[in-house]
Symmetry: C2
């Protein structure tokens, strides 16, 4: 517990690397790395357990830089400890195609656990990772076999502390008594607008105590390495509460502008950078110069981590002998494989089966999969009985002391905290052996837009069970009826937006969502009952779009999703009977999945030659991609019994038929009528 | 301060009305109204100052039901006090076209201040309304002329208390020391998932104290009217802190299921409803039966409110004589008029003027308008120096004790709290005499999606200054580069999404945004410099789309927005020089405004006969509405210097020209080529 010059040298090496990289890029944030170098040094060398040669070791301690703009701190650490981040990578900080982008991206950089930068997200991710550890420990650990015991450390700054998502996550973590979660709050009193006195004068420590956290303070966060070590050690001792260390630091420590907003988001001026180097005993003429002894010291920590993993592997080998079933399960989960035959549990339906709300069909899937997919863990943002997300035999994920469940439980009570739920799911999924879902109303997935975006960027396959997906929710009215939501998430890259029409399609979308390795899913589900459709099958559904009702010499193709598909089928009957018009009907539960089918298949579904009309009781935005004309809802809905609301907006067989006839007439004069799938050039993807 | 049978009768009348209305609708939430009837009775009769005959009186006390699902409480109160909400309206609760929708909607129901239901929003609205009062008081009040002194009361439940937006807003309100804001927390320990013990065990009172609030508790919130009155009176005495009353109530008080989730979101069973009525001394056979003496008692309160307004009007008359300038300003603002000639201050540019980033052009507008529009009040979510939202002479809106400004100040330091900022803006705008804007990166408007949606539904014309609007922000990378954001908000009804291309267009969008009475605006602005374009004018810009560069015998129309318009102009040159292709160029800064131009004008901009190519460095979703082919970015961006990022994705004159040629070739075989503006049928709007 005594610190020597070498420690200081290492700390200053980190600081100087941050100065050099931001100067070289002429862009970036030197302040936070310079301020948080000391705590990083202590944390990584004295406490953290990790193997830079295998950044995916499941029982590693997790580190999340929620104040992701300070990423040069993390990149410097990764480099010094021997992760696959070279000095050249640091020199390419914030350059095109580098491993060192402007904010940490999990799929770009080995050792970065989660993608951060959008403030508050990393903090909530860390809560999810700590929940994952607690669950794994409860599920797998046996006497003498502590397979899971890692800590999750998260750095966060004033910006994160101000964001509502972090408040939601902190309240959740306190409730869940996550003893292995340790947050380090960089209390540097500077945000972009300057001194936090201008906007953020609350008592953060007291607030975290109110959430049920253990809170300690370290006043001399720039220099007092012993106090930092003591604080972390004390936090590790508190087993039934998450801990927060309020660490008072000086942003840009060492710079002439230290302690001001001037060092937050701008590289140091050349003379200032030179002065910093001199002050820290570095050659001001040299850039990216790391003393060899620092590499050596950090190499020792890395070696200890590698040894720890080796030990863990041996333990796991013994565990597999002692507990072959659980051992095999963990091995399977770590490989990202689902149990053989799991998909046979997916329910299928005949068209003679009764009409059922798709939220209920989703419940049937979750119920069926509960016993076969132990890695499937999820919950709801306080809408369990509406989202229908809880299997009957599920145990709540709760601290035992609540008497409401245990950490082995797989059902999460998120409270009314959609944004945190989204980010916690990202953390649960990032942990490595968990598949996770979360329920809320489709309309309130928007509250979590920031987290959904990060699922997509960081390629984390979480699943949103998004019920009450249209004006079909009825009386709750426009404040709860989504209009823009599907367009929003369809525009978000790497996101599957599903709107299944019946039972087989619900099974199909779960099949794709659960086998997806890199893409999140949003499954939009109805409150109201939907008929089981003829020709719908899981095999059809997993193509994202298919011909539900073929017809020879058709005059029009009607393409629809979810609750409107059944109405479109009825509209086809009306068209035949009343208008002598032949309509094909296409169900397209997921654009993004349809988009990756072979072009030939796509054109067999939405062929040239006849016009295409889309029908969906939501914004029409984007449907022109598949249809010549679009029938939808480009205004807010209305409060009333849902059938009346549907009638008001003409989502009826007659309303669709009328527009189909108009479409046919309107497109008569155009030749050739080409499917909108034919395009002049490819999008950049 | 003594309460009699009549008080109890009134309270029970509210309860019974909630039971009857939800039963009649067979839908809705009786629990919260039954639990919060007593506090409502005390608050509205003993404290609140309002005139049901003029719900818009500017100095009325504001009431916000943030737990908006309990709206039958509010509807019952509005009815009893004589607002334009009849007993028939209550009978039509949650029916199509009624004044009593499933959640309170400000533009539907007289006396509803803001649209609530999405949890946490109303709480943050109330913070905005209290800020508006504080500002108006500082700006207008003079010795002997307390024109503004109203209180803002907000009811909120566990759901609101869990939402991050409310945490952000509460922290803001504490910092701002809003003494006239009083929150009443319905601590009924029930949310939809049941007992809050399952997810929400923090110490809410302590948390609010940490935010700097004055907190008192009332244990017997069902019965102890005296304690409620005392608590509110005590809160009113605390002038330098917002106050929170933790009011312990029993949800569904009186029902067999009281205190359980069973009364939260479902009407009472018939026998239970009958029992409730008997218990409260009502005839179980009668529905919607309000004792006459309750009407009379509430009528007295209403009459006192009307008298208070009368008194205020007389005071204002005297004020106008004493302070003619301020008096005239307030009168003008209350009429919703802007000062004559204000628009002459909007800057204009010639094409020879230097290239300037549109965020900077926005700053120039805000600077120019600062002295002429005293009602223009805004801020930034901790990105002031990036959003460029602060006029040089602006004073911060701060409590004097901070030494950083005063309540007369018009610049708001929101901290890193985008969601609260959005909802606070809704509250500021709802107050009645303020126009407000808020700055953040375009990408982080998504954090506030819930609040933006409510601006749109409730028709509140707030302005988002959304800078760093594309991959053009460069090094910060994909986590900060919007892709889906414009598509998202273009799909949101009643929202103007602007992406101006140069100085004149920036002035144009501010012109439309500031004169808008019912529609919010999101103004997407570049980080990078943009050239001033030939033929751009304010007059053109305010049409939402216009021909920037006309050409005879053109082969193609290129339609573009913002930073890509200048590149499109260069592409037209490249096309002429290298491909012998003639291109028209259209700038379309705002779809929604273009959409309401006469069809003839629209077709003159995007005419039949030649193909149309859209160019925008964001998701192409929705552009098919205006263009035959779309060049955009349907993937995440990249971290790097912005020019390199633009080149990588081919947003260059050559990249556009290549696609224009492909578009022309591809559309050659189709006749006729019709503008996509021609449609088979009209959307429902």
């Amino acid at each position: 517990m005594t610190y020597a010059d070498l420690d200081q040298l290492a700390i200053n090496s980190i600081r100087v690397l941050a100065v050099d990289a931001t100067s070289q890029a002429n862009s970036g944030h030197p302040g936070a790395p310079m301020g948080m170098a000391p705590i990083s040094h202590v944390l990584f060398n004295k406490f953290m357990k990790f193997n830079p040669k295998n950044p995916k070791w499941i029982n590693r301690d997790r580190f999340v830089l929620s104040n992701g703009h300070g990423c040069m701190l993390q990149y410097a650490l990764l480099h010094l400890f021997g992760y696959d981040v070279t000095l050249d990578d640091l020199k390419n900080f914030r350059q095109l195609g580098s491993k060192t982008p402007g904010h940490p991206e999990a799929h770009d950089t080995p050792g970065v656990e989660v993608t951060t930068g959008p403030l508050g997200q990393g903090f909530a991710n860390a809560v999810g990772m700590a929940m994952a550890e607690a669950h794994n420990a409860a599920h797998f650990n046996k006497p003498g076999f502590e397979l899971f015991n890692n800590y999750t450390y998260v750095f966060f700054g004033d910006g994160c502390a101000m964001e509502g998502i972090a408040s939601e996550a902190a309240s959740t973590a306190g409730h869940l008594q996550l003893g292995k979660l340790i947050g380090i709050y960089d209390d540097n009193k500077i945000s972009i607008d300057g001194d936090t006195a201008c906007a953020f004068t609350e008592d953060v420590a007291k607030r975290y105590e109110a959430y049920g956290w253990h809170v300690v303070s370290v006043e001399q966060g720039d220099t007092d390495l012993e106090a930092m070590e003591k604080a972390i050690a004390a936090c590790k001792e508190v087993k039934d509460k998450p801990s927060m260390i309020k660490l008072t630091t000086t942003i840009g420590y060492g710079s002439k502008l230290q302690g001001t907003g001037g060092v937050h988001g701008n590289p140091l001026k050349a003379d200032d950078a030179a002065e910093v180097k001199k002050k820290f005993g570095f050659d001001p003429e040299k850039k990216f110069a790391v003393p060899q002894e620092v590499y050596e010291a950090y190499g020792k920590t890395a070696a200890a981590g590698a040894a720890a993993e080796e030990e863990w592997k041996q333990l796991f080998e013994k565990y597999k002998q002692e507990y072959p079933e659980l051992g095999a399960e963990l091995e399977r989960r770590l490989k990202g494989l689902l149990p053989e035959g799991w998909e046979k549990k997916l329910p299928t339906y005949k068209s003679t089966d009764p009409a059922v709300a798709s939220r209920k069909l989703s419940e049937i899937v979750l119920e069926a999969l509960y016993p076969v997919l132990p890695e499937l863990i999820g919950g709801s943002a306080d809408l369990t009985a509406s989202n229908l997300t809880r299997a009957k035999k599920a145990v709540d994920f709760q601290p035992e002391s609540t008497g409401l469940g245990n950490y082995g439980g797989r059902y999460i009570r998120y409270g009314v905290r959609e944004h945190a739920m989204g980010a916690i799911m990202n953390g649960l999924a990032a942990y490595g052996d968990i598949i996770t879902f979360g329920g809320t109303f489709l309309n309130f997935v928007s509250y979590a837009a920031g987290a959904v975006r990060l699922s997509a960027i960081s390629q984390v396959p979480v699943i949103w069970v998004a019920t009450h997906d249209s004006i079909g929710l009825g009386e709750d009215g426009p404040t709860h009826q989504p209009i823009e939501t599907l367009a929003h998430f369809r525009a978000l890259p790497n996101t599957m937006v599903w709107r299944p029409a019946d039972g087989n399609e619900v099974s199909a979308c779960y099949y794709v969502a659960l086998t997806s390795k890199h893409t999140p899913s949003i499954i939009a589900l109805s409150r109201q009952n939907l008929p089981q459709l003829e020709n719908s099958t899981i095999e059809n559904g997993i193509k994202g779009g298919y011909v539900l009702q073929e017809a020879e010499n058709a005059n029009i193709t009607i393409v629809s999703t979810g609750s409107e598909v059944g109405i479109a089928v009825d509209a086809a009957k009306t068209l035949k009977e009343k208008h002598n018009v032949v309509a094909r009907v296409v169900s397209m539960p997921c654009w993004e999945v349809f988009d990756v089918q072979p072009k030939e298949y796509q054109l067999s579904v939405l062929p040239d030659g006849i016009p295409i009309l889309s029908v969906e009781a939501l914004s029409t935005l984007g449907w022109e991609k598949y249809a010549h004309e679009s029938f939808g809802l480009n205004r807010f809905g209305a409060s009333g019994p849902y059938k009346q609301v549907y009638e008001k907006f003409e989502f009826t067989p007659e309303g669709i038929a009328k527009r189909a006839v108009a479409t046919i007439n309107f497109w008569k004069e155009v030749t050739p009528i080409r499917s909108p799938l034919n395009r002049a050039f490819q999008h950049i993807i």
